[in-house]
């Protein structure tokens, strides 16, 4: 169902966003905790990183149809 595809994409996007967010957060936290002495910026950074990644993934996902793929033709 093509109509469901968008929905699925959005689901994936959200899930991915959540995951990324979480992961980012997590990582951020971790990093912050671990590396950056519980600064917030790793968390934010991680979270932002995560969100950004999610956003980018979502976008890519949503754009995937329109993106042109090229191939290098082999020299004959």
């Amino acid at each position: 169902m093509s109509e469901k595809e968008l929905g699925q994409k959005w689901d994936r996007c959200l899930a991915d966003c959540a995951v990324k967010f979480g992961t980012g957060l997590g990582l951020g936290i971790v990093f912050s905790v671990v590396f950056f002495k519980r600064r917030t910026w790793p968390i934010v950074f991680g979270t932002g990183l995560g969100l950004g990644m999610a956003y980018s993934n979502c976008q890519n996902d949503l754009r995937s149809r329109y993106v042109l793929h090229s191939k290098v033709a082999k020299e004959q």
């Binding site: 169902m1 093509s2 109509e3 595809e5 968008l6 929905g7 956003y55 979502c58 976008q59 949503l62 754009r63 149809r65 329109y66």
Partner: protein, 760 residues
């Protein structure tokens, strides 16, 4: 062939014999030829000499006929030639000499030989033997013609005369048995008469008729019991006749012996010089002998009469047998005749003997009488003259022989005178006595001669007849045999000829029959062919008609069948299409119908030969076959989702596909207010290609149930909306296609059904 022989024989006979000629001339020729061939040289010489002699005599007779002076000379010089000439110039032998050929020469010889006998009898006694053999062959070979018969008779008479003259002493023969010669001559006459009718020549036509008659009569008689009765009768009569004849002969011989004894005794009594007492006994014995003789004579007479009677009977039987004319009985008849003849001959001989004996006895008795007379006279004279020597004279009287006379001379010296006287007396009476005695003797002689001649003639005639019969029989047998062979040959030739003719006829008839058969067969065949052809034609016609009708019927039926088939097919198609339609209804709200494969497969099966249906059936998209299609309702329901989603992503396309755009399009969809259903225009302008408008049009169409239009509108979406509506569009397209095909099919099925449905 037989007739040819007969004709040749008759021709030869006519050439050979003229005048009254008897039958069996062929016999003559044959016999003479056989006689000539088989005769020895001696016979030839004899014949030649006889011929020459006969020729001389014939010439003499002829010349005598012509020249009476010569005749007179001959008569003078040759004794007894006058008799010959008398005889000769009666029935003419010279014509026979002139005209006839060999067969009659013996006749001539015969007659001339008897003439020679007559003329040269005292000189030539040896010639008597010649006539006898000549007689015999002549008698045997010749058919007794009447002339020949008379000649024979004459010759026999002459022979008898000669023999009578030569042998029989000139003794007065008293005819005692007078009845026998008449019977004899009667028999002879009868015989002669019997011969006469038999011996005439029969013409050729009669011969065959007679032969045929004979054969028929023979067969008839043979068929009956005539033949055995004949033979039995013959034998019986033969036996009885033989017995009586023997008896008669015996009696005659007894009479003969009695006569002889008596005569002897008489002679003894006359001549012996016995003493008187013995003489008396002699005379007693003589009387006894005389009585014996008379008795024997009587017995002989009786026996002779009986024998004669029996002979007559036998003759009658033989005649009747001859009358019956059975050829096979001929030998018996011949034998019987021979027997009869021999018996007659014996009887006659014996009778002649008896007669001679009687004659002798008569003579002797006459002698005795004379002697007694003489003796008595002499005794009387002696008694008158010399009574003392009576006894001697008694014993010695009666014998006139010289011895006795010489012996008596001494005693009869005295008597000489007496005797001389008597002699003188006798001399005086001599002539008269002699004449009287001669007369008597002549008479007696004539009578005896006649009788003897007659009897001998009869005998010889009988002999000849029998011989002739025998020869005739033999010749007949031979002829019969020859005729049989010829007949056999003829029969064989006839059968051959018949066979040939029959073969030829058979051939002809066969060919004819074959032709007729062929023609008939052809006719029949043509007829049959025609009939069969007609039949065939009619049959063919009928068959053709029937076939045509059948064909028509078949075609009708086929067309019916076809029509019905078509109808059925159409019906089936329609049913299957209906089934398909029905399956379409099986679509649920959110799930598609059953896969249309089955129904379409059914359709495909049912209308395999319907290209249109097949094409249509194959035109149905695969998805619908395998997965089925969504119903319009579901599609309609799904459209709303599609509409919503398509409104949300209305701005997204290839150029704008970031998230921000997404947010903006969402925002647009929320903030844009339009009517949900807008009636689509007839023509689409380019500004109408806006998503929202399109969706409104589609919504409007789909709300109106026009999925196609909706699909068309949806198809105009671009960008992400297009992508979002892609599946729905596909589904819609599928459904639309399938529905279209199905509607086509159903329309086609309806059309076909309408087409095939026949108006009642």
């Amino acid at each position: 062939m037989l007739r040819v022989c007969w004709k040749g024989a008759h021709a030869a006979a006519r050439q050979c014999v003229c005048g009254k000629v008897k039958a069996h001339p062929l016999q003559h020729c044959r016999k003479y030829s056989t006689a000539g061939d088989s005769g020895s040289s001696a016979g030839k010489i004899v014949a030649a000499s006889l011929l020459s002699v006969g020729g001389g005599l014939g010439g003499a007779i002829l010349y005598a006929k012509w020249d009476p002076k010569f005749r007179a000379n001959v008569e003078k010089s040759v004794p007894y030639s006058d008799q010959l000439f008398e005889m000769a110039l009666g029935p003419p032998p010279p014509p026979l000499v002139l005209l006839q050929k060999k067969p009659i020469e013996p006749l001539q010889i015969f007659s001339l030989s008897e003439a020679s006998k007559e003329s040269k009898q005292p000189k030539d006694k040896a010639k008597k033997s010649d006539p006898a053999p000549v007689e015999a062959p002549a008698a045997v070979e010749e058919a007794p013609a009447p002339t020949a018969q008379t000649l024979e008779e004459a010759s026999v008479e002459a022979a008898h005369i000669i023999s009578a003259i030569g042998e029989v002493p000139s003794v007065p023969a008293p005819g005692t048995s007078d009845e026998s010669p008449p019977g004899h001559t009667a028999a002879g006459e009868e015989c002669k008469d019997h011969h006469e009718p038999e011996l005439k020549e029969r013409p050729a036509e009669e011969v065959t008729a007679r032969l045929a008659q004979q054969d028929k009569a023979e067969q008839d008689a043979l068929a009956l019991t005539l033949f055995p009765t004949l033979t039995a009768g013959l034998e019986e009569s033969l036996g009885s006749t033989a017995k009586t004849t023997l008896q008669a002969i015996g009696a005659q011989e007894a009479a003969l012996t009695a006569i002889a004894a008596h005569t002897n005794k008489l002679k003894e009594a006359m001549d012996s010089e016995t003493p008187p007492d013995e003489k008396s006994s002699q005379w007693k014995a003589l009387n006894e002998a005389l009585s014996d003789r008379t008795r024997a004579m009587e017995e002989a007479e009786e026996a002779l009469l009986k024998a004669k009677g029996e002979l007559e009977n036998l003759r009658g039987v033989i005649n009747s047998a001859k009358q019956s004319k059975i050829n096979t009985a001929r030998p018996q008849i011949l034998a019987a005749e021979e027997n009869l003849h021999s018996m007659i001959v014996d009887l006659d001989k014996v009778v002649t003997k008896v007669q001679t004996a009687q004659t002798e006895a008569k003579i002797v008795s006459q002698y005795s009488e004379l002697v007694n007379e003489a003796k008595a006279q002499f005794q009387q004279e002696l008694a008158n003259i010399t009574p003392e020597t009576q006894a001697n004279w008694k014993g010695l009287s009666g014998k006139l022989s010289a011895d006795d006379l010489t012996s008596l001379i001494a005693h009869a010296h005295r008597r000489i005178d007496q005797l001389n006287r008597e002699l003188a007396e006798q001399r005086v009476r001599e002539q008269i006595h002699i004449e009287v005695a001669l007369e008597q003797q002549k008479l007696e002689d004539q009578k005896a001669l006649e009788r003897a001649v007659v009897s001998t003639l009869e005998h010889s005639r009988e002999d000849m007849r029998l011989e002739q019969e025998k020869k005739a029989q033999e010749v007949r047998e031979v002829m019969e045999a020859e005729m049989r062979t010829q007949l056999r040959r003829q029969a064989a030739a006839h059968t051959d000829h018949l066979r040939d003719v029959l073969k030829v006829q058979e051939q002809e008839l066969r060919e004819e029959a074959q032709e007729i058969l062929n023609s008939k067969m052809m006719e029949q065949e043509t007829h049959y062919r025609r009939l069969t052809q007609e039949q065939l034609d009619t049959f063919t016609l009928d068959m053709n008609a029937a076939y045509a009708r059948l064909k028509g019927i078949e075609e009708a039926i086929d067309s019916h069948v076809i029509a019905e088939e078509e109808a059925r097919k159409a019906h089936q198609l329609w049913l299957s299409v209906e089934a398909l339609n029905y399956t379409l209804r099986s679509a649920g709200a959110d799930f598609p119908t059953e896969p249309l494969e089955g129904a379409v497969g059914v359709i495909k099966e049912n209308c395999a030969e319907n290209e249109f249906a097949q094409a249509l059936a194959t035109a149905i998209p695969e998805e619908s076959l395998s997965r089925g299609i969504y119903s319009e309702a579901s599609l309609r329901a799904r459209f709303y989702d599609i509409r919503r989603l398509a409104r949300r992503v209305a701005l997204i396309d290839e150029t704008r596909n970031s998230l921000y755009q997404y947010f903006l399009s969402y925002l647009q969809s929320v903030l844009l207010f339009e009517r949900e259903q807008v009636a689509p225009p007839a023509k689409l302008a380019p500004e109408d290609l806006d998503t929202f408008k399109l969706l409104a049009y589609a919504n409007y169409s789909i709300e109106r149930g026009d999925l196609e239009l909706a699909a068309k509108f949806v198809n105009q979406l671009r960008g992400e909306s297009q992508r979002v509506a892609q599946d729905w569009l596909k589904e819609a397209r599928l459904t639309l296609e399938t529905k279209q095909v199905i509607s086509l099919l159903s329309a086609y099925a309806n059309a076909v059904g309408l087409g095939t449905t026949q108006a009642p």
